[in-house]
Subunit: 380 residues, 2 copies
């Protein structure tokens, strides 16, 4: 086990009717900007609940943070925040709204252009922020990370701010989510776990068991959600698994991969592919290309998550990868680039970008541009 | 799933050589009291590491916090702390030292007698405290709880303070732990998980999986620790499983039991039985007496933790309980009261105490004095 420091101070406020607690969770004296995406929170009743809970607070609203939030939109929010001397931000919506809000929070006290913060990778200063999370997926509600896109250059990078002060998760807010959005979010959750798990064996028995428990949960709930999206306990598990998949609790003392995410981000940046959809294509291909390196963990994964115990090691590994791809297909997602009309040209662009930037990913830092090319080719 | 709020702000500082970080973790301007138990920290080198790390801090020492820390000892520490205007406490040792320190931290700013805080159940004020944990067991390093004994009346009660500011866990400090202490601590860890897990099914898939993962880990590492107590990764898992068993992470939105602990505390208070040893006797008996109520969870537990899938439900439940008792016996612990020379008289005293206090435990609050009597009789 590697040395580690774990400290996650976010207050997770979970359950039915918890949005009313906003009243006391945000200090009365704060000047609050509430940030939103499109209009879905008006349809599902969340907007009215937030308005009611904050009726005695001094608030302004900012609308229009898009999926894969762009620096172009966020600059407008930062300007508005500076003008109004905002000192608390509340993101209401999905992971994109909160990711964008993490940059607004860092951008308000920052003198330069906020894209610089993204490139620096870590915000040095921030006003406090919190969330009412309505789409379980990114885990942004209980971590420091955010991913921001820049339209003009088709770039998409992650950066870190501090943790949210609190996040309110009411499973009832997920009852009206579109099926495709749920499918993409389940893919995202699954791959978050895999990025922290599918490395080498023997680092931590507990982290392995906890990661496997999350994967088993996602596999178990996915078909049930398709059948009944208004089962409270089911949707509560869905919401909680998203948070626990990426709030540092399954990464204590273990190495991490993240190659799938970094390659996936490129597909989103270049082709506008939904984040979860991009991962469903890249993960199985990554496992195929790196199956020798990840051999022991693939065998453990196959046995513990899918119950694969028979046949040669090679056969069991193949089966584990097939089951993984099968899981994504069961969500109704494509797992091949050709199904999305993506071909060699994009693959070459991504490989060149990685090579030019000199970046390498994966737990062994050996996923170079050329390896990324090999992965993407095997996903054609 | 029940509504819940989770927030655990403790900084967990884990790994080899991390004690040196004390230097920066405790603010330089603090007047620090370092609290210790007996002399084991002098033998395993921890005392010297702490002294060296804090050589530029203004510190005093308090020695002699005993296993099952007593109010009588802690009052002395509180007086010393008040006299010296102590505003930061560092507990160095096992769970008892830290539990005692949690009361010292609440007692220093308190005007009355500190036993009142224990009876109130929740400290209203406290100075900050932290720990260097050298015995994995109680989870006290990352939770708010503490258990304090009163010698003169043979009472033992829990109370809550705030969370530790930080806890440093270096697995190398466990290399020299006595085998019996490790056995008792593994029992304690196992039962902590069971108190939060062995209730009713269907509350949270994730919490179930995470609890089962911890139980599987304890079962897997116990025999290996007996063979080689200086395997770093093994002892790291041992140390981490203790913390994660009782730091709120496996109790999100689920009911809890705690009857075994409350009955066990009485055995410790009346007979001086080591905490972990008392639990090894009480848990199997509790499962036997409450097997109808806990039927579904016992079946799930049997299958997922011990791989019991064959035979009638009744047979599988019996086997799960036998395997549980067998696990404690494999640790070298007794699982029967008679083996400890405890009989009907003590059983009656405990039943009377529960009845007199009007307390009830268990996830259904139906473990009255009479049920406790039945449990203890079945453990004779």
């Amino acid at each position: 086990m590697n040395n580690f420091i774990f400290q996650n101070p976010t207050k997770l406020v979970f359950g039915k009717g918890q949005i009313t607690l906003l009243k006391d969770l945000i200090p009365q004296e704060k000047k609050v900007m509430v940030t939103y995406g499109g209009g879905s929170v008006k349809k599902n009743g969340v907007y009215n609940q937030v308005k009611e809970a904050l009726k005695d607070h001094d608030i302004i609203e900012f609308w229009g943070i898009e999926p894969n939030p762009t620096i172009e939109t966020l600059r407008k929010a930062i300007t508005l925040g500076k003008e109004n001397k905002i000192d608390f931000l509340l993101a209401v919506g999905g992971g994109s709204v909160l990711d964008g809000t993490k940059l607004i929070a860092a951008g308000i006290p920052y003198e330069g252009d906020a894209w610089e913060i993204v490139l620096q990778g870590q915000a040095k200063e921030s006003i406090p922020f919190a969330s009412v999370m309505t789409l379980p997926a990114t885990g942004s509600e209980m971590n420091t990370g955010a991913v921001i896109s820049r339209t003009e250059t088709k770039e998409k990078y992650g950066f870190n701010n501090q943790y949210p002060e609190f996040s309110i998760l009411d499973p009832e807010t997920t009852y009206s989510l579109p099926a495709h959005q749920i499918a993409c979010s389940l893919s995202d959750i699954y791959v978050h776990v895999m990025e922290q798990y599918m490395t080498t064996t023997g680092q931590s028995r507990i982290m392995d068991r906890w990661a496997e428990g999350l994967l088993q949960t996602v596999i178990e709930i996915a078909p049930q959600i398709r059948k009944n999206q208004t089962d409270y306990n089911l949707m509560a598990d869905y919401m909680l698994v998203a948070t626990l998949a990426l709030n540092d609790m399954i990464r204590m003392g273990v190495s991490q991969d993240w190659a799938t995410h970094m390659i996936g981000h490129e597909l989103t940046a270049l082709h506008g592919l939904t984040h979860g959809a991009s991962l469903a294509i890249v993960l199985p291909a990554t496992l195929r290309v790196l199956k020798e390196q990840k051999k022991d963990k693939l065998l453990q994964y196959g046995e513990r998550v899918f119950g694969i115990t028979e046949g040669s090691e090679e056969k069991r590994i193949e089966e584990a990868i097939e089951k993984t791809e099968g899981f994504f297909r069961s969500l109704g997602l494509n797992t091949r680039l050709s199904e999305e009309g993506i071909g060699e040209e994009t693959i070459n662009t991504i490989a060149e970008r990685f090579n030019k930037a000199g970046v390498t990913y994966g737990e062994k830092r050996n996923v170079t541009g050329n390896v990324a090319k090999e992965i993407l080719r095997s996903a054609l």
